[in-house]
C-alpha cells in the first residue's frame, strides 16, 4: 500500500533545518513521498525547497506543487530535469490549478483543460528530447553527447510553440512522477497518480490512471481501502501536532537500496517517444 504525506504551505516551516527534520521523520515513518503544495496563505514555491532537501539522506520521494496554468513547458521541463537528477530520481510534480493567482499574474490566460494538457504534453516531449543514451562522455572521440540521439520536439499547439530540444539530459525517471487532484478533471487523467477526497470517487478513476490515492486528514484513522485504491495521501493543512503524529507513525521500511519514486509507486518508466527517430 502506498502512503504519501502532503503538507499545505501553512504547515511547512520556513527554515531548512526544520524541513530536513520533516523529511527524515517522514522517511523513517516509511512514507513513499512528501509533497509540498500551495494552500491558502503563504505563496510557497516549493521547487527550490525540494532541491535544497535533495541532500538529506533519505529514500523518500519529494514533490512540489506547480501552478500549471502559468507554466511555460520549457521552464517546467528544465527545472525538473535538474531536480530529478539532483534527487537521484525521487522527484514529483503536484499539479495545482493556479486558483486565486489570476490577479497576481495579471495577464490573460485561458484557464482550461486543453491548455493544461498541452503544457504537460510539451513538457513530456522535452523530457524525451534527449534519449537515455544521448550522454556519451567519450573522451577519445571528443564527444560529450551523441547528437543523433537529441531531437528537436517541434511542438506547435494551440497554446504553446516549443522547438526544443531541452538543454539537459533526460530525467532519471524518464518523466518526473506527476500527481494531480481529481478536482482537476480531465487534466488529472494525464497524471501518474490521482488523489481523491472521498472513497466513492475511487471508482471514477481506478484503472484510468497509474495510481489512485485517498486523501486522509493527518490525525484521522486510516480507512480500509476499496478495490482500485492504491493507498493513502495524508494531508496536513497546518503544522499543529505534525511532529508528534509523524513520530507515532514508525513503520518498517521495505525497500532495499535506492529506488526511484516511480519504482516505489510501482509505475512504469516511459521510453523516450523519440527513441529510434
Amino acid at each position: 500500500m502506498i502512503r504519501t504525506l502532503t503538507l499545505h504551505s501553512a504547515a511547512v516551516p520556513l527554515s531548512l533545518p526544520a524541513c530536513r527534520d520533516l523529511v527524515r521523520a517522514a522517511d523513517a515513518a516509511g512514507f513513499d513521498a512528501l509533497f509540498f503544495v500551495r494552500g491558502p496563505g503563504p505563496v510557497l514555491d516549493a521547487v527550490p525547497l525540494i532541491a535544497a532537501l535533495a541532500s538529506v539522506p533519505a529514500g523518500i520521494g519529494l514533490g512540489a506543487s506547480v501552478p500549471i496554468d502559468y507554466q511555460e513547458p520549457f521552464h517546467l521541463a528544465r527545472a525538473y530535469a535538474a531536480i530529478d537528477r539532483l534527487t537521484a530520481g525521487r522527484s514529483a510534480i503536484v499539479l495545482d490549478g493556479g486558483d486565486g493567482l489570476a490577479a497576481a499574474i495579471g495577464r490573460d490566460v485561458d484557464l482550461c483543460t486543453e491548455r493544461r494538457l498541452e503544457c504537460l504534453t510539451a513538457a513530456r516531449k522535452l523530457w524525451d528530447s534527449w534519449e537515455d543514451e544521448a550522454v556519451l562522455v567519450d573522451r577519445p572521440a571528443g564527444l560529450f553527447t551523441d547528437s543523433a540521439r537529441i531531437h528537436r520536439v517541434d511542438h506547435a499547439g494551440r497554446y504553446f510553440t516549443v522547438r526544443g530540444p531541452l538543454n539537459a539530459p533526460r530525467p532519471l525517471q524518464g518523466w518526473p512522477v506527476i500527481v494531480a487532484p481529481l478536482a482537476l478533471g480531465q487534466t488529472a487523467l494525464a497524471a501518474d497518480a490521482v488523489t481523491v477526497t472521498t472513497a466513492a470517487d475511487v471508482a471514477s478513476v481506478a484503472g484510468r490512471v497509474g495510481r489512485v490515492l485517498l486523501d486522509v486528514v493527518v490525525g484521522d484513522a486510516e480507512p480500509a481501502l476499496r478495490p482500485g485504491c492504491d493507498g493513502v495521501n495524508f494531508v496536513a493543512r497546518s503544522s499543529g501536532g505534525l511532529a508528534d503524529w509523524l513520530a507515532s507513525q514508525e513503520r518498517p521500511v521495505a525497500h532495499a537500496g535506492p529506488v526511484t519514486l516511480r519504482q516505489r509507486l510501482g509505475l512504469l518508466r516511459p521510453v523516450s517517444q523519440f527513441a529510434g527517430a
Binding site: L14, S15, L16, C19, G41, P42, V43, L44, D45, V47, P48, L49, A51, A52, L53, A54, S55, V56, P67, Y70, E72, F74, H75, R78, A79, A81, A82, I83, R85, L86, T87, A88, L101, A103, A104, I105, G106, R107, V135, L136, V137, R139, G142, L143, F144, T145, D146, S147, I150, R152, F160, T161, V162, R163, G164, P165, L166, N167, A168, P169
Partner: protein, 425 residues
C-alpha cells in the same frame, strides 16, 4: 577613484569546466555533472575558499550548430535556481546566485521563487537579472519575435520593481499598475532574511548598465584590458552617483579564467594540454556563435574577416566587439581566435603561478579596474581545488582577501571590508 580594499570572488560553475574542451581532461569529473555530489563537492570547495558566492549561468536553448546539437561540448548548466538551492542545502555561508531571464516569466512567481531561495538558504540568495535576445531561446517560448533591446530592459526594470515591492510587502498586498505589468497580490510570507535577495546584472550595453546602476549590488562583466576596465568602472560609478548610490554599492567582477602551475613552465604545459583537446570544429563554432557570423566555409587558418562581421552585426555586444578588436590587433586566424574563446570565451585568461596571479589581481584591484573577479576554473573539481588551496592563501597573505566570513548573508559578503575603502581626499 574609489578602491575596494579587498577582493570579492564569485565562482561560476560550468559543467565540464570553462575551457570548452576540458571535459576531456582525465581529471575532470565529466561523468558526474548532473549529480548532487558534483555540486556538493564544488559548493563546499567554494565555501572553504571563502568566496562571496557560487554563480550559476543560464541558457534557454541547447547549443546547436546548423540545426544539430554540438556533441563536442559539454551540456549547459542545469536549471540555476535548482542548482543554487541544492548547493544552499550543503553549505552554511556561501552565497548562491542564479541567473534568470525576465523575458519569459511572470514577476509574481519569480518573486515567490527567490523569496523561497532566500528563506531556505538563510539569506544567501542572489538573482543575476538578465534578458534574453537569442533566437534559439525564442523558439522555445512561442513564436513571437524578441522585444527590441531598449523595451526589453524597460520591461526588466519594471519586472524587478514589482518583485521588490512584493518582497518589501511581506504579508501585505501589492497593487502595481505599470506599462508592462498589472499585479495585485501578496506573497503572504514574512520578510526574507536579506529583506530582498541580492541582485546582480551582467549586461554590458548602455541599457544593461543603467539597469545595474538602478538595482544591482554586483556586476559580472567581461573586461580583458585594464585601461578600458577602469573607464568602465568609472562609468558605473558615475551612473551610481546619478542614482544617489555610493560607488561601492556595486562590486564589479570581471570573469577570470586561471590556469595555474607551481612554475610558469608547468602552467604553460597545462595550457598546451588543454589546447590539444580542442576539436577543430569547436573553435570555428565558437567564433561563429560569439560573432554572429557563419565561418564554416572558411579555412580555420584564414584571418578573421573582421569588416564583414562588423557589417553584418553593427550592434555586436561589447564583449564580442572587444574580442574582434583583439583579433585585429594581434592579426589572428579563425583557429587562433577560436582557441582564445575555447579557453575563457570573452573573459580574461591568466596562465602562470599563484604569485603571478596575485600580482595581476593586486594591480587590477588597486588601480580601480575591478572589485574582484568571477572565477572561471578550466575544469572541476581539480582546478577549483587548486585555486582554493594554492591561490587563496597567497591573496590572504597579502591582505587582499578575507580570512573568514564576517557576515552570514550574501549582501554581507559583498559589503565586507567596505568600511576601510579608500576614497579621494
Amino acid at each position: 577613484m574609489y578602491i575596494s580594499p579587498q577582493l570579492h570572488f564569485g565562482m561560476f560553475i560550468y559543467p565540464g569546466g570553462h575551457h570548452i574542451a576540458a571535459w576531456r581532461h582525465p581529471e575532470a569529473a565529466s561523468e558526474h555533472v548532473t549529480e548532487l555530489g558534483y555540486f556538493q563537492r564544488i559548493g563546499q570547495a567554494c565555501e572553504r575558499g571563502l568566496f562571496d558566492a557560487l554563480f550559476v549561468g543560464d541558457a534557454l536553448a541547447a547549443r546547436e550548430s546548423r540545426g544539430k546539437v554540438v556533441g563536442e561540448v559539454a551540456i549547459n548548466n542545469l536549471d540555476p535556481v535548482s542548482v543554487c538551492a541544492a548547493v544552499a542545502g550543503v553549505t552554511e555561508r556561501l552565497g548562491v546566485v542564479a541567473t534568470l531571464s525576465t523575458s519569459f516569466h511572470d514577476p509574481f512567481l519569480i518573486a515567490a521563487k527567490f523569496a523561497a531561495l532566500d528563506h531556505y538558504s538563510g539569506g544567501r540568495a542572489g538573482w543575476n537579472v538578465v534578458t534574453t535576445s537569442s533566437d534559439a531561446a525564442a523558439y522555445n517560448f512561442g513564436s513571437e519575435p524578441h522585444m527590441e533591446k531598449t523595451l526589453r530592459y524597460l520591461r526588466a526594470a519594471e519586472f524587478v520593481s514589482v518583485c521588490q515591492a512584493l518582497w518589501d510587502a511581506g504579508t501585505d498586498q501589492v497593487r502595481h499598475r505599470g506599462r508592462f505589468f498589472q499585479v495585485e497580490g501578496s506573497l503572504g510570507l514574512p520578510p526574507c532574511p536579506q529583506g530582498r535577495p541580492a541582485l546582480l546584472q551582467a549586461g554590458g550595453s548602455p541599457s544593461g548598465r543603467a539597469l545595474a546602476a538602478s538595482i544591482a549590488e554586483a556586476i559580472f562583466t567581461a573586461q580583458t584590458v585594464l585601461g578600458p576596465a577602469i573607464e568602465y568602472r568609472q562609468s558605473i560609478h558615475a551612473l551610481l552617483a546619478e542614482q544617489n548610490r555610493p560607488p561601492l554599492a556595486i562590486k564589479i567582477l570581471p570573469g577570470f579564467s586561471p590556469i595555474l602551475g607551481s612554475t610558469m613552465a608547468e602552467a604553460k604545459r597545462k595550457e598546451a594540454e588543454l589546447d590539444e583537446l580542442v576539436h577543430p570544429r569547436v573553435g570555428t563554432w565558437m567564433m561563429s556563435e560569439y560573432l554572429h557570423y557563419p565561418l564554416y566555409d572558411l579555412s580555420p587558418d584564414a584571418p578573421v574577416p573582421v569588416p564583414d562581421i562588423r557589417a553584418a552585426t553593427p550592434d555586436l555586444s561589447p564583449a564580442a566587439s572587444a574580442h574582434l578588436d583583439r583579433c585585429t590587433r594581434e592579426g589572428l586566424s579563425i583557429a587562433q581566435g577560436g582557441r582564445i574563446l575555447a579557453r575563457s570565451r570573452t573573459h580574461q585568461s591568466f596562465v602562470g603561478t599563484p604569485e603571478g596571479m596575485a600580482d595581476h589581481m593586486q594591480t587590477w584591484l588597486q588601480e580601480g579596474g575591478c572589485d574582484g573577479f568571477n572565477l572561471l576554473p578550466a575544469w572541476f573539481p581539480g582546478e577549483l581545488d587548486l585555486f582554493v588551496d594554492e591561490a587563496v592563501p597567497v591573496l590572504q597573505r597579502r591582505g587582499l582577501f578575507r580570512t573568514e566570513y564576517e557576515g552570514t548573508t550574501l549582501r554581507g559578503h559583498l559589503g565586507q571590508g567596505d568600511e576601510s575603502a579608500r576614497f579621494p581626499a
